[in-house]
């Protein structure tokens, strides 16, 4: 994991992702997170008092960001334009495939922060709580889609394969684009636990 390098989506895929904010992506994701909260409330209990915090998730290779309030069955996800000034408690930025890798547990958050593949600004305690909750949740795509049984297993297989393909495309030199983490001068943080 230590040799993990920042990656970006290939240009054609970036282009295809452009109209996504025009679709009701926020509504669909909000419903998905709420469904997850109804089925697995423990995931959100683990986030504790930070569940009402506003987490801005900023994939550096998309033109828009996500604003997540992981408040259980009252959770909300909105898409917001890339540079829009929106109040948030935390901003997590990085290449989309790496952010997805954190969600499905393929990538180690500590290593990504150590190597600065991912940047975080805002409240360290909220990031640590979210990171630990996601880490424990062992989320699969079917969890978010609310699918169970054979349908869930098939969805997991297909979606995880698609993400793996995306990751491969993003790492191939020809498809790679610079994916600088969002800059700026606001305080940034890294969600490591200290080692006492």
């Amino acid at each position: 994991m230590t040799d993990h390098q920042p990656k970006g989506l290939p240009a054609p895929l970036r282009f295809l992702a452009k109209p996504l904010p025009l679709l009701p992506v926020g509504t669909i994701l909000s419903l998905a997170v709420r469904r997850l909260a109804a089925r697995r409330p423990g995931v959100f209990d683990r986030i504790g008092p930070y569940r009402t915090c506003r987490f801005r998730i900023a994939p550096v290779d998309l033109d828009f960001d996500f604003l997540l309030v992981p408040d259980g069955t009252r959770a909300r996800v909105d898409t917001i334009p890339r540079r829009a000034r929106v109040a948030s408690d935390v901003e997590i930025g990085g290449p989309l495939v790496d952010l997805l890798g954190l969600l499905d547990g393929t990538l180690d958050g500590d290593a990504l922060f150590f190597t600065r593949t991912i940047t975080v600004r805002g409240r360290t305690d909220a990031v640590v709580a979210l990171r630990n909750a996601i880490e424990d949740a062992e989320l699969k795509p079917a969890d978010l889609l609310g699918l169970t049984g054979r349908l869930g297993t098939t969805a997991d297989a297909v979606i995880l394969k698609a993400i793996a393909l995306l990751r491969r495309l993003a790492t191939e030199p020809s498809g790679r684009e610079s994916a600088d983490p969002p800059g700026g001068s606001s305080p940034s943080i890294t969600p490591f636990g200290s080692r006492s």
Partner: protein, 329 residues
Amino acid sequence: MSLELVCPAGTPSALRAAVEAGAHSVYCGFRDETNARNFPGLNFSPDELVDGIRFAHRHGAKVLVAINTFVRAGHPTAWIKALANAEGAGADAVILADIALLDHAKRHHPSLRLHLSVQAAAATPEAIQFYAEAFDVKRVVLPRVLSVEEIAALAKEITVETEAFVFGGLCPMAEGRCSLSSYATGKSPNLTGVCSPPEHVTYTDDAEGTTAKLARFTIERFGAGEPAGYPTLCKGRFIAEGKTGHWFEDPVSLNAAELIRPLAKAGVTALKIEGRQRGKGYVAEVVAAFRAAVDAIAAGRDDPDTAKRLAGLTEGGKQTAGAYKKTWR
């Protein structure tokens, strides 16, 4: 007899990962100030502990519950409850540091096996035997200040089992005695269960790089693109008398994999891996590597190059055998 491998679990999924990777024992704590890894989103609810212990026992592994902070004066309820919850969940042992809590455990939970936490900083035969005789402690987790030779000499003079850290983050001060975090933030691993707590951590970017601060203290500055780390006070880089350096401790991890055989020969009962705040991927990889090493050595084979296998998982890739190979005395 094979060495017992004691492995960290900050969450139920890490517990399952540790057990599946071959942990003989897993240690974990409750989600409050009663354990020394009280980070947001980490640790177990009483119900999660019940499930975790059931899972571990089904796979032949033990669960040791760390209740290893010092009781807040006049407010012992959380610690007393934690002891009762650990016993109720079927814990195989509890890991304690506070003398009052050890006394309470001995009186009210006589069948609960007691281990002495590293937080108690018991490093002499006299101190260890006091805990053994007064509270019937069965095992001591050794402070990371002893050489292998010192452990061998110590083991001959005590009547309890010993557990030695072999991998992970280092707390270079004598455990339970460090007040750096309290001084900077008002919170410490000893009392609130967290050193350099994340709500006091900030990183600020400017043209020259990133400044890491703990409360009002600048701990470290990283150049642009230079790997970052967590601003634990003792690992900070400071300027003193015109010189810049890691004056307390270099930011390195302990990796004593090459010392498994000498530690076994010194009479150590169990090897402990640090890292309850680390992810399950890390836990699984470190546990699997150490289990292979412990099994190989128990079978009389060579160590399968564990130190090398794990080098990539140490903090910033830097590692040390710590006090086990003391070169400064």
